[in-house]
């Protein structure tokens, strides 16, 4: 019997494909956002609002990730410059997108005709936190009906986020969601994070979200 020292990161294969994805995106000057949240928090709604506000300024592509169905791709297909649906049902990872799935999606997209790529991850606050895709920014959406305890229950996804979008602000009169406590719970782990309040239903706050996106896209292009 002999012992072999290994010390090899098990997620290295995913991380290496993610780096290749990012190199490809950079080559085509595509700025990619990984949008994560629980199911129903408003990922598709935020994507639709973003396209509605920015489609005159940017060519926007979308990658939709779901366990099953093409419902989300059908919703955005008339609005986006291009859309690809990934269904994870028969894949080795079902609960999150992984870099390899995005690598295949990128091959199906006209990258030369896209400025901004919105990647909608599978609705889940746990698994997507573990898999980088090659994105330039990570965004988490939390909606008021979910409750303000999500950063305490799922800290990792919030600790790694570049921005957190609080959606369904129009629900504020009906739910006990302490926005200050929610923000504090995130900032203690992630002091640099940008927190934005929106309602995809009324359009409130979408302007600020789009300004953040445009600023980040510019910062990425100038290599900041």
């Amino acid at each position: 019997m002999k012992k072999i020292e290994i010390v090899q990161n098990i997620l290295e294969a995913n991380e290496s494909i993610a780096s290749q994805n990012q190199r490809l995106l950079d080559e085509y000057k595509v700025f990619a956002i990984n949008i994560m949240s629980s199911p129903g928090a408003g990922k598709t709604s935020l994507i639709l609002q973003t396209i509605a506000r920015l489609k005159d300024k940017l060519r926007i592509g979308v990658v939709e990730g779901d366990f099953a169905s093409t419902i989300d791709a059908d919703k955005v297909k008339d609005e986006a410059a291009a859309v690809v649906q990934i269904t994870t049902r028969n894949m080795s990872e079902q609960c999150a997108l992984i870099a390899n799935m995005v690598s295949h999606a990128l091959k199906c997209l006209p990258l030369g005709d896209i400025d901004l790529l919105l990647i909608e991850n599978v609705g889940n606050l746990l698994c997507p936190a573990e898999f980088v895709l090659g994105e330039h920014r990570r965004v988490v959406i939390s909606s008021l009906p979910e409750g303000d305890d999500k950063p305490i229950k799922y800290p990792i996804i919030f600790a790694d986020a570049d921005a957190v979008v609080i959606n369904k602000l129009d629900f504020l009169p009906y739910v006990d969601f302490d926005i200050a406590a929610f923000e504090k719970a995130i900032k203690r782990l992630n002091p640099e994070v940008k927190i934005l309040q929106v309602s995809c239903k009324t359009g409130a706050g979408i302007e600020n979200w789009c300004s953040w996106l445009l600023d980040e896209l510019k910062a990425n292009r100038t290599g900041k």
Partner: protein, 113 residues
């Protein structure tokens, strides 16, 4: 469930290293899993039997070492472990902390014949 892909990676790493070492059988694989990582040892074990079947890793024992959650206080730089979810610095009671450990997922070593 996302442990199938991870288990495939573990078996691939183990088989590659066993080949390099010209081993004929993998007896035990030691894996470090962080307490805060989203990976469940039981699920990896469940998939391992099926992923390693008909390879020299078939029948190998998986041993998991749990790496504890570790934090660095952003106020006084104290490194500490926390066994509850309050994650408060034991020195200055600050709640502003950086996660410095507990997210690991790696194959540490293995025993072969």
């Amino acid at each position: 469930m996302h442990e199938l892909g991870v288990t495939e990676s573990i078996v691939k790493i183990a088989l590659d290293k066993a080949k390099e070492a010209q081993a004929s059988r993998i007896v035990k694989i030691n894996i470090v899993v962080g307490e805060l990582s989203g990976f469940v040892p039981d699920c990896i074990e469940f998939y391992f039997d099926f992923v390693s079947k008909d390879s020299i890793a078939e029948g190998a024992k998986l041993h998991f070492e749990l790496a504890p959650a570790e934090f660095r206080c952003r106020t006084c730089s104290t490194i500490f472990h926390s066994h509850d979810s309050t994650w408060t610095c034991p020195e200055c009671q600050s709640q502003s902390v950086e996660i410095t450990g507990g997210r690991e997922l790696y194959v540490e070593n293995m025993e072969v014949e």
